[in-house]
């Protein structure tokens, strides 16, 4: 098991390396290079820019600069933002927990919706419940989060307030100026989590259904039934545990997509997360921050695929033992 995991880590490292190389080189394609931030600043003369280039070591060839960046990364340094002059690591450290918080809750709610719906539509295949679930997933899949986001804000925040009903907050993680109590935080989660969960559950319902359908006709399920186990425990304990295997893989492979979904959701609901940090930095060409966010996200995605492998091995003894 340890050896298996070590091997997976060593396979993942070159991937991370390649991604940072690719992004680093793409960023050099900016017309004015990393100093694009200053390009339109009338207070800076061409000579100033030259001096800055000198000071930041931007006259070195690109590979040399990449190696310097990599060297700093190994020591836990991500550099400084050219716009806010804060440490990139600190900026990310401030935003990342907010994104993880939103994504974890959203993933939890997604599974709470997708698991029961998927299982029920598999055991009642072609029933009206199954058809309804299929309709739900087609509709959910076709509803882009930025649209459903606007619609729920209009309905639950704007209209509800107009009608004098209790309305939901449409932005931020907690009411500004308040102490951000638990109830307040939960209320702020409802809309963004709802939007993310609807979109993701549409996908996962199909995976759970497909994977459950494969499992329920297997011999050991029949054996469990023949032994006289209650239907409920056969389905929810025996079958679901095995049906969960492919679903775990799918979720792990989907994490990049979940991160992407977070960019949109964070932007609509003014959620102070990493997706929005990235978007803001892209608009102002804040190159050190972009590089930092990309590296951290890629690292997290790779880490979570590893985590999926561990869960997979835990769910399936055949992998653990071989």
């Amino acid at each position: 098991m340890t050896r298996y995991l070590l091997r997976r880590v060593f396979e993942a490292l070159p991937l991370l390396f390649l991604i940072t190389v690719a992004v680093f080189f793409i960023l050099q394609l900016l017309p004015a290079g990393p100093l694009s931030v200053y390009e339109n600043d009338p207070a800076l003369t061409t000579e100033d820019l030259k001096r800055l280039e000198e000071r930041f070591g931007l006259n070195d060839p690109i590979p040399v600069r990449y190696l310097k960046w990599l060297g700093a990364l190994v020591q836990g340094e991500l550099g400084y933002s050219l716009v806010t002059h804060q440490q990139v690591a600190a900026m990310i450290g401030e935003r990342l927990p907010n994104t993880i918080y939103l994504m974890t809750v959203a993933l939890g709610v997604t599974l709470l919706i997708a698991l029961p719906i998927g299982v029920i539509s598999a055991i009642r295949q072609y029933s009206w419940l199954d058809h309804l679930a299929t309709l739900f997933s087609f509709v959910g899949y076709a509803t882009p989060p930025f649209w459903s986001g606007l619609l729920v804000i209009i309905l639950f925040s704007v209209k509800f307030r107009e009608w004098g009903l209790p309305s939901l907050p449409a932005s931020g993680m907690f009411t500004l100026g308040s102490d951000g109590g638990v109830a307040d935080r939960i209320v702020h989660l409802i809309l963004p989590v709802g939007v993310l969960a609807l979109f993701n559950a549409a996908h996962y319902t199909r995976y759970v259904r497909a994977s459950m359908l494969e499992v329920v006709h297997q011999d050991y399920v029949r054996t469990a039934r023949a032994k006289g186990l209650a239907d409920r425990s056969v389905i929810w304990a025996h079958a679901l545990k095995n049906a969960a295997l492919p679903v775990v893989t799918v979720i792990a492979l989907d994490l990049p997509m979940l991160f992407s979904g977070a960019v949109v959701t964070e932007s609509i609901f003014a959620w102070p997360g990493m997706g929005r940090l990235f978007l803001e930095s892209a608009f102002r060409f804040d190159y050190a921050v972009l590089m930092g966010v990309v590296t951290i996200t890629a690292g997290l995605v790779i880490l979570s695929t590893l985590l999926a492998d561990v869960i997979y091995a835990w769910l399936d003894p055949r992998i653990r033992l071989s």
Partner: protein, 299 residues
């Protein structure tokens, strides 16, 4: 595909006595027709394309502003109301559909071409070529695509072709995997060995003999790919990185609608509803095609 070909050959003498043998295409069409939602999807999609093409017939100019008619709610003269500059929303939605649908289809074609090329090379040549190309594919899959999209769009500008290329070049991976799997299986078949024995050049074997047999999964992926590409394009536009105003796209119209959610909520509804219809209909078409082109379901 091969399985159905065999079955067809075997069943031909039996069927020939009663009715003429049916071509693959006829069989697929018959199966597709039975999928009522797919038919409805095809009709909706065609209608969307047609209205987008015919949009200039509208009496309104999509970009002409008229400050006296700002924020008019939907009415008979403006079925979808007017926006913050008094432009007719319906005309803009239809004109915006041209960009969104065109980007979607072009980007899909880019991703199909790249995906087929990568998948075919990896599947046919195997060994080092395969592992190199598959590592590349994995690298693209492992990455939060929207981040790269945002990066590329902010660096290379937001012209039509840039967006097509950027969206297309980030969506070829599933196609590459499908095509690779099909090539891996097909290259071991007798007809490939026969072609090789007859001295057909490698390129001819790959593109003329193997590829036509791998078309079904590619067609299905292409249909679903249009939906995905339109979703990606409108996400970019929504974030302000797609094609820029005043050119209307569904995404940038929704972006603009964000500012007027209290005064003009209808502006946030219609462009999104058109995205919804497009994605829903192309997914149903894809679903129907998957059934229709699946040889196991034809009999």
């Amino acid at each position: 595909m091969t399985a159905s070909a065999t079955i067809e050959r075997v069943s031909e003498p039996l069927g020939a006595a009663t009715r003429p043998a049916l071509s693959q295409r006829t069989l697929a069409w018959r199966q597709f027709r039975r999928h009522r939602l797919a038919l409805a999807g095809a009709a909706t999609f065609l209608a969307l394309c047609l209205t987008a093409v015919l949009a200039p017939v509208s009496p309104y100019d999509p970009n002409r502003t008229s400050l006296l008619d700002r924020f008019e709610p939907p009415s008979l003269t403006h079925p979808m109301g007017t926006d913050d500059l008094g432009r007719d929303e319906l005309t803009r939605v239809l004109i915006g559909g041209r960009i969104s649908l065109a980007v979607g289809m072009m980007a899909m074609m880019v991703s199909i071409v790249v995906g087929t090329l990568v998948g075919a090379l990896a599947g046919y040549f195997g060994r080092a070529v395969d592992s190199l190309l598959m590592r590349l594919t994995e690298m693209f899959i492992a990455f939060p695509q929207l981040f790269i999209l945002i990066l590329l769009a902010s660096l290379f500008g937001t012209g039509f072709w840039t967006i097509v290329l950027v969206v297309g070049l980030l969506r070829w991976m599933p196609v590459a995997r499908l095509v690779r799997a099909a090539f891996l299986q097909l290259k071991e078949q007798e007809f490939v060995t026969a072609a090789r024995a007859l001295g057909a050049p490698t390129a001819a074997i790959m593109w003329r003999h193997i590829l036509p047999n791998a078309l079904s999964p590619i067609i299905v992926a292409a249909t679903l790919g249009v939906a995905g590409a339109i979703l990606t394009e409108s996400t970019l536009s929504f974030l302000g990185l797609g094609i820029q105003l005043p050119t209307a796209t569904w995404g940038n119209m929704l972006r603009a609608a964000q500012n007027d959610m209290t005064t003009a909520p209808w502006l946030a509804f219609f462009p999104g509803f058109f995205i919804f219809l497009t994605i829903l209909s192309s997914n149903y078409i894809g679903d129907g095609l998957r059934d229709a082109l699946d040889p196991h379901k034809q009999f």
